[in-house]
């Protein structure tokens, strides 16, 4: 026998237990010893997916469709295999950006668009309301049923309405109270609720155990195990079709597939699932256990759905009992009050868990993405200038929770009775599935734009409303039924349940097909034909490439602000104490003594923005920081500037490269010059040592002769005469040598004086030959001379040219064969040059020595024992002179056949113009 107070006490005790757990977990979290930071709590909190829909509704569905209830759980199992890719990425993005809700996530991706965040919030609230009302309906129905025990009265729509309303209202108040207390206890930048998660995890355990107890009771208490239950079901002609339901009236493969897809999306995009899976996630690694623990949980809670449904149908035939209530009714029917009460508590936990978390998630969205952006834009409120806004944020959230829950309650009053639990839930699933294209597209496709997301969402939402909500309203009597039967204004093509004549599908499949076509089509189409802003593009890149990026994300603020201004701003929303704490932690992390030393660099501004985003959402945070930053948006000019700067940098680096190459060349030539200098230096040393050596030779002879004369006074006159002649000759040689060294030094240093004039080379040659004729005659050498008739005028110093000629002629005389010696002198015009060649028929010069002889103190066949026949400076001097006059001196010779010394001098330019004058 149940009295109302027994049920009430049980409910209150249960909710009191939740309070205790939540309080304890929050305390532990405050002390930094979280109890939920492990994969098992995470997996259990994910099981908030299993609501009153699962607890009561699945059995109802199974009673009409057999296994047709299963896609709702198979879909998440499939999706969770992909969680490793999808949810892990979401968690990473969320943590980097301090995202607090699904609306925040989507608006952040599309350039922190407040409009988009608001739209997502509206869709979420409108879409989820039926789902919340479903839970309220389940709680109040179960309460009513239990209250009427032992009578098994299924509350009819007309009977006991007042009492039911009271129950649902009472429960709504209780839930509001609990959610407000624990869901908005304080403002947290990360928007995590440890106490709530712990309570939810506990609720998940309770509903699993409770449902299993009922399942075991039905299977083994009422029947004799699975075999008995199923064989009796198969024997019943009405029930047997449920065991292989495909192809029957209710279950088609297409419907099955669409429900799978729908639930795949729901497990991610239901606001409460996003909240527990992404926002409340403590550690990415927890996914590893969750990806199999959560499906295992779903498998466990579903095992007994079909047995309970079949058991209900077999035990209570031909009654008009709603199959949605079998879980509660069956224990009652067999007079097991304890099991019935436990079943009631299980259903209560399933429903409250969903309602609590859904409203928290929705209230965060409503506050951060709908109300705050609007309030901040209302200049009249001057909110941006208030000193402390944290109380306002909490109040908005509390109000949002109250309003959402009461809206759910009103929806339940208005439309809740028309549909079974599952059908109501599926309408919500279809609504949140509209988020999938923009959210998933945004995570994997950089090209999605804000305009595309807005139009896609809006189109999907409108089609959803038209194909699912309108028929529901019509069925509840709020709209004329003709609208559904014949379409608006009698246009059958626009019938909400058979849009454009697409018939033969169930309502959900039909709605999903049309809304997804509209949604994805608009999203992709508009995205392709619209343009992203620079900031939007950077957000898109950050979302898509979150795993490949390192370090801090997103937008870099450009502008000036002081650190204290930032702290004040943060203090307004989080409370001054919390802001001071955050800033000093930040300063400590960077090795600074206190927050006063902080520089308001881009990093700090970004840090502040992210903390703020945790409290008021990304879009509002951006607006708030912008108000104190006075930052200009990253315009196209700015981008062009950056590109321009980039190209300048590229050009600069090109210049550097060329300069480096030039430097390299200079270095190379410097190195060459250095080598040359070292060579010259070495040559100078050689020269000095050679010169001193050459000077010593005659000096030694002179000294030796003088000593002989000094030591031998009795030397006869003839002998004395001979030594004196030797001394004179050696002295002359010494003088000549010194003169030549000086001469060469002068020539080489360019200090020699030149008296250049126009000369007729014939005269100079003649004179030189005349001067040397005695030399030739003395040696019996024939001298031939071939001079042209015309004058050969050159520019030059007469004495220097004479010096060259004399040198060459005396050399020819010196090296000519002594007998039958022949020397030939030729003077010819060669183009613009005059060439003088002096050939002899002497011993000739080895080809190896032909260049050597023009070096200082080198002579052909130079060996230590051979007596030098000259100073070794004559030819080097000649080459210097000819070179200075712009000509060239060289030798052609073969050993044993004589030599030809030639030099060329340019024709006097004045004569070259007018031709050689006769």
């Amino acid at each position: 026998m149940f009295k109302g107070w027994v049920i009430a006490v049980a409910s209150l005790a249960y909710i009191g237990l939740l309070f205790a757990i939540a309080y304890y977990a929050d305390r532990r979290a405050d002390q930094g010893r979280s109890i939920i930071a492990n994969p098992y709590f995470y997996s259990l909190s994910l099981a908030v997916y299993a609501t009153a829909w699962t607890f009561y509704g699945s059995v109802g569905r199974a009673a009409s469709d057999g296994v047709g209830f299963l896609p709702i759980y198979l879909g998440p199992t499939l999706m969770i295999v992909l969680w490793w890719f999808v949810v892990r990425k979401m968690i990473r993005i969320t943590k980097l950006n301090r995202i607090t809700s699904l609306a925040d996530f989507i608006s952040s991706r599309y350039g922190k668009s407040a409009l988009l965040g608001g739209l997502v919030t509206v869709i979420a609230v409108v879409g989820i309301l039926p789902y919340i009302s479903l839970q309220l309906k389940a709680i109040s129905t179960s309460f009513q049923i239990l209250l009427q025990y032992p009578e098994m009265v299924i509350p009819r729509k007309s009977s006991a309405v007042a009492a039911m309303q009271d129950t649902a209202f009472f429960i709504t108040l209780l839930l509001v109270f609990f959610t407000v207390i624990f869901g908005t206890r304080h403002l947290d930048a990360a928007e995590r609720h440890e106490g709530m998660v712990a309570a939810i995890a506990f609720e998940s355990l309770v509903k699993l155990v409770s449902f299993t107890v009922v399942g075991l009771f039905v299977t083994f208490g009422v029947f004799n195990g699975f075999g008995d239950l199923f064989s009796r079901a198969q024997a019943d002609a009405l029930i047997a079709p449920l065991l292989s339901p495909f192809g029957g009236p209710a279950v088609s493969y297409a419907n099955w597939a669409w429900l799978t897809v729908l639930s795949m999306l729901a497990i991610i995009f239901l606001p409460r699932q996003f909240q527990v899976a992404v926002i409340e996630n403590v550690d990415e690694k927890h996914l590893r256990k969750a990806v199999w623990l959560f499906p295992a949980y779903m498998l466990a809670i579903n095992i007994f759905v079909l047995p309970i449904a079949l058991g209900g149908l077999l035990s209570l035939p031909h009654t008009n009992i709603d199959a949605d209530t079998f879980v509660l009714i069956l224990p009652m029917a067999f007079k097991h009050e304890g099991v019935a009460l436990f079943a009631f508590v299980g259903g209560l936990s399933a429903a409250t868990g969903m309602v609590i978390f859904e409203t928290i998630a929705l209230s965060t969205m409503v506050c951060n993405d709908l109300v705050m952006p609007l309030l901040l834009r209302l200049k009249a409120l001057r909110l941006a200038e208030r000193s402390d806004l944290s109380w306002l944020l909490l109040m908005i959230r509390r109000a949002a929770i109250v309003i959402i829950l009461f809206l759910g309650y009103i929806y339940y009053l208005v439309a809740g009775e028309a549909y079974a639990l599952v059908s109501i839930g599926l309408v919500s699933f279809a609504a949140v599935a509209q988020f999938a294209p923009v959210a998933l597209g945004g995570m994997y496709w950089k090209g999605g734009t804000r305009e595309g997301a807005l139009t896609g969402l809006l189109a999907g939402f409108v089609v959803w409303g038209y194909t699912l909500v309108l028929p529901a309203l019509a069925k509840s009597g709020w709209l004329p039924n003709e609208l559904i039967e014949y379409g608006p204004f009698g246009m059958t093509l626009l019938k909400p349940v058979e849009l454009f004549g697409l018939s033969g599908l169930d309502q959900i499949t039909h709605a999903m097909i049309w809304s997804m076509i509209a949604n994805i089509g608009c999203y992709v189409g508009v995205s392709l034909f619209s343009r992203q802003s620079a900031f939007e593009h950077s957000q898109a890149t950050m979302f898509v490439e979150v795993f490949t990026q390192t370090g801090e994300p997103g937008h870099v603020w450009r502008g000036r602000v002081s650190a204290s201004a930032l702290q004040t701003l943060l203090g307004r929303f989080l409370g001054p104490a919390r802001a001071a704490e955050l800033f000093s932690t930040y300063a400590r992390d960077r090795g600074l003594a206190s927050a006063d030393e902080l520089n308001a660099d881009a990093m700090l501004v970004q840090f502040a923005e992210r903390q703020l985003a945790g409290a008021i959402g990304a879009a509002s945070a951006r607006t708030m920081v912008a108000t104190i930053m006075q930052e200009e948006p990253l315009g196209i000019d700015e981008v062009m500037n950056i590109i321009d700067e980039t190209s300048q940098v590229i050009a600069y680096s090109h210049r550097l490269e060329t300069q480096q190459q030039e430097l390299q060349q200079v270095t190379n030539s410097l190195q060459a010059a250095n080598r040359r200098l070292q060579e010259v230096d070495r040559m100078k040393d050689d020269f000095i040592s050679t010169v001193t050596h050459e000077l010593r030779t005659p000096l030694t002879s002179i000294r030796a002769c003088s000593e002989i004369l000094a030591d031998n006074p009795d030397l006869d006159l003839h002998e004395r005469q001979r030594f004196l002649v030797l001394i004179i000759k050696e002295s002359e040689r010494l003088t000549r040598l010194i003169n030549q060294v000086l001469d060469l030094a002068k020539l080489e240093s360019g200090l020699a004086e030149w008296h250049n004039e126009a000369l007729d080379l014939r005269e100079v040659v003649n004179e030189a030959i005349n001067a040397t004729t005695p030399l030739f005659n003395g040696r019996g050498i024939t001298l031939d001379m071939h001079l042209p008739d015309a004058a050969m005028t050159v520019q030059g110093d007469r004495d220097r040219i004479m010096q060259v000629l004399l040198n060459l002629l005396s050399n020819a005389a010196k090296f000519c064969a002594t007998a039958a010696g022949e020397v030939e002198v030729r003077l010819i015009l060669e183009g613009s040059n005059v060439r003088v060649s002096i050939s002899d028929n002497g011993i000739g010069i080895d080809s190896a020595d032909q260049e050597l002889i023009f070096e200082k103190f080198r002579q052909a066949g130079d060996t230590p024992k051979a007596k030098p026949q000259g100073t070794g400076l004559g030819l080097p001097i000649c080459r210097q002179i000819i070179g200075h006059l712009g000509g060239r001196l060289w030798v052609e010779s073969r050993l044993g056949y004589g030599s030809v010394f030639s030099f060329v001098l340019p024709v006097n330019p004045a004569d070259a113009e007018t031709g050689i004058s006769p």
Binding site: L70, F226, R288, L299, L306
Partner: protein, 67 residues
């Protein structure tokens, strides 16, 4: 690193396996009014396939990272 790299393809193939197991035509093969060990064939098939998939996913994912 070597094993971690292969986690992605393995999970994708498990997803494909799941889609295959839980859809037409495999589903149609078991949509029979028959019993196996006292349990309807379709019911047994779905839960066994489901358990198998969970087991395989656990094998692939829930292992400590090598190294």
């Amino acid at each position: 690193m070597h094993k971690k790299a292969s986690r992605g393809p393995r999970l994708l193939s498990l997803f494909a396996l799941g889609v295959l197991l839980f859809n037409y035509p495999l589903l149609a093969l078991f949509n029979l009014p028959r019993m196996i060990f006292g349990v309807p064939v379709l019911y047994a098939y779905l839960f066994i396939a489901w358990a198998l998939l969970i087991f395989l996913v656990a094998r692939v994912v829930d292992r400590p990272d090598p190294g």
